[in-house]
Symmetry: C2
């Protein structure tokens, strides 16, 4: 797919733009000639980090605001050609301890952003960052988009609602929108301070700091998308009319157990150790078991597939944090 | 199932209790010897009507409050054995024109009620009134619980989230809860002032007033549950531990097109007329086409099935409104 034609000189709004995927997406969009407006709340517990746009500060516009602020969002969506709607509360554990905050961000803010689009910019194209979490514990593997949604935590429920608001506004109001159900996404600029965004972030941090990291259980199978591949999917979904109203799984180039992943990481690092332990009780009860995605739907519709092999992606990510870790603590 | 043992002298809280199903449920529970606390907001656009408890006022406790009022709900759930959680915004059209109110009632209030149960009364048993609306336009008929949820309006999305909060709190916190996905429910005490609760209410009103009623399209297939049958399902679900964490469709004793239903209604009434027209545009775009439920899951698990035939149920309902219509206008 030829992307520069779709984005050169186009106005692009990204929510959660100072976060992991948002900032990597921003970098690609700048290369493609887009005029990017970055919205982020910089809440310390979430993914936003100003260092994520180091070196490109002069080529973007940054607006600090929260997607729950319906007033600012109403203004900011106006005149934009694209909205990459990435802002979200991502922690499964936090969604259980503070379900109301998760609802405000992942449900209500999404609905109010879409209402703003409907009223003030109905020609915008929206791509929503959804999650595999809404499938819950899979009935079968790999999981395709026909699998029932049976979320096992508040985050999964609210993301499910947030996703469907997008599909609804596409179908009923013609606000072109689609949703990508992300699996574990990893790469430079992910949160590594703790496991709120991804456990792999915390693993990397410990490894770089020369401390043992913890593998919970370890037998679970997972798939992983390198962030550049995820960014490709967002761009292709935005540029293609065939994506409107659609829901697509993303996936990885391979399936791996967490134990094997931990070993691979230590091997790539040339050093390091990890300990295996069982789940804490509060984590255990929202566990989804094995998960990996069937991503044939987006491959057929948009031609997307992951191209960065896991080993290569982990190497690049490790190299990034070896250089920049202090900026992420 | 022997129900009186389950409810005699037990404390029961009903939200939306002055509404259609809530008030019919209340009457049954009183007969079963329960001590019933009725919560309703009496918002004029919704289903609550004090006439619905005419003749039993002295045998129940009425508390006017809104489920969005987390403070009152926190107090009211305490000490209750059962919660029949029926309060909801039911209008599909209203959910589109005021999505935020629908979200507040059907999502946020549900989550805060469940949080109140978790913190202050974790031994309560909760039965949630869900809806077929969350299936959207069926892929196949009859629709069973394995059908994907693809809601076509804001109400369907928010009810889907509300339902899943209940299942989640059952699975994670052991707050025993289950959900009934209602299809068209009809009978005495339904709202007939307009079509906000069910189109059949408005049809009945027009018929009793001797005016022609409107059938939109008419070819759509539907199923109908008489309210006494729906009440049975709520009671059986509450009394059975086998229902915990489960989602069940309700259904009807037959499948009928709206045209045939209109003819049947006129025939039972012995008089009357209707006109057929096409959908208004804003209604058309959230239409679900044909729908009828497979209710074999609740039949197997709890032994429930509809027992009041459609013709009999319509006769009883017509007789009720011929006597009491002014109380519902």
């Amino acid at each position: 797919m030829e992307l520069s034609g779709a984005f050169a000189n186009r106005r692009v709004l990204i929510t959660g733009a100072l976060g992991f995927i948002g900032s990597n997406l921003t970098r690609r969009l700048i290369d493609l000639g887009a005029r990017v407006l970055l919205v982020d709340s910089l809440i310390p517990e979430y993914g936003g980090n100003l260092f994520n746009i180091e070196g490109i500060e002069d080529r973007v516009l940054v607006n600090i605001s929260d997607v729950r602020d319906a007033h600012s969002m109403r203004y900011l969506v106006q005149g934009q050609d694209y909205l990459f709607n990435l802002a979200g509360q991502t922690s499964h554990m936090d969604s259980m301890s503070d379900p109301d905050a998760d609802l405000e961000i992942n449900c209500r803010a999404q609905l109010s952003i879409l209402e703003a689009c409907r009223k003030y910019n109905s020609s915008i194209k929206v791509v929503f960052a959804s999650t595999r979490q809404l499938y819950g514990k899979p009935d079968y593997l790999p999981v395709d988009e026909k699998h029932l949604s049976r979320p096992v935590d508040v985050n999964g429920i609210n993301k499910m609602a947030g996703e469907w608001y997008h599909i609804l506004y596409n179908n009923v109001y013609g606000i072109r929108a689609c949703s990508l159900r992300l699996t574990n996404t990893y790469g430079p600029r992910m949160r590594v301070k703790d496991a709120r965004q991804t456990f792999l972030g915390l693993w990397m941090r410990m490894l770089v700091e020369g401390k043992p990291f913890e593998v919970w259980e370890g037998h679970q199978l997972r798939d992983f998308t390198y962030v550049d591949d995820a960014v490709d999917a967002f761009l292709m979904a935005a540029a293609s009319e065939a994506a409107n109203g659609e829901i697509f799984n993303l996936g990885g180039d391979c399936v791996i157990s967490l134990n094997e992943l931990a070993k691979l990481l230590v091997e790539i690092n040339g050093d390091g150790e990890f300990v295996t332990r069982s789940y804490p009780a509060d984590r255990k009860r929202i566990d989804i078991g094995d998960y990996y995605a069937d991503f044939s739907r987006i491959r057929s519709a948009l031609g997307w597939k992951p191209v960065v092999p896991l080993r290569e992606g982990l190497s690049r990510t490790l190299a990034f944090y070896k250089e920049h870790l202090p900026k992420y603590l």
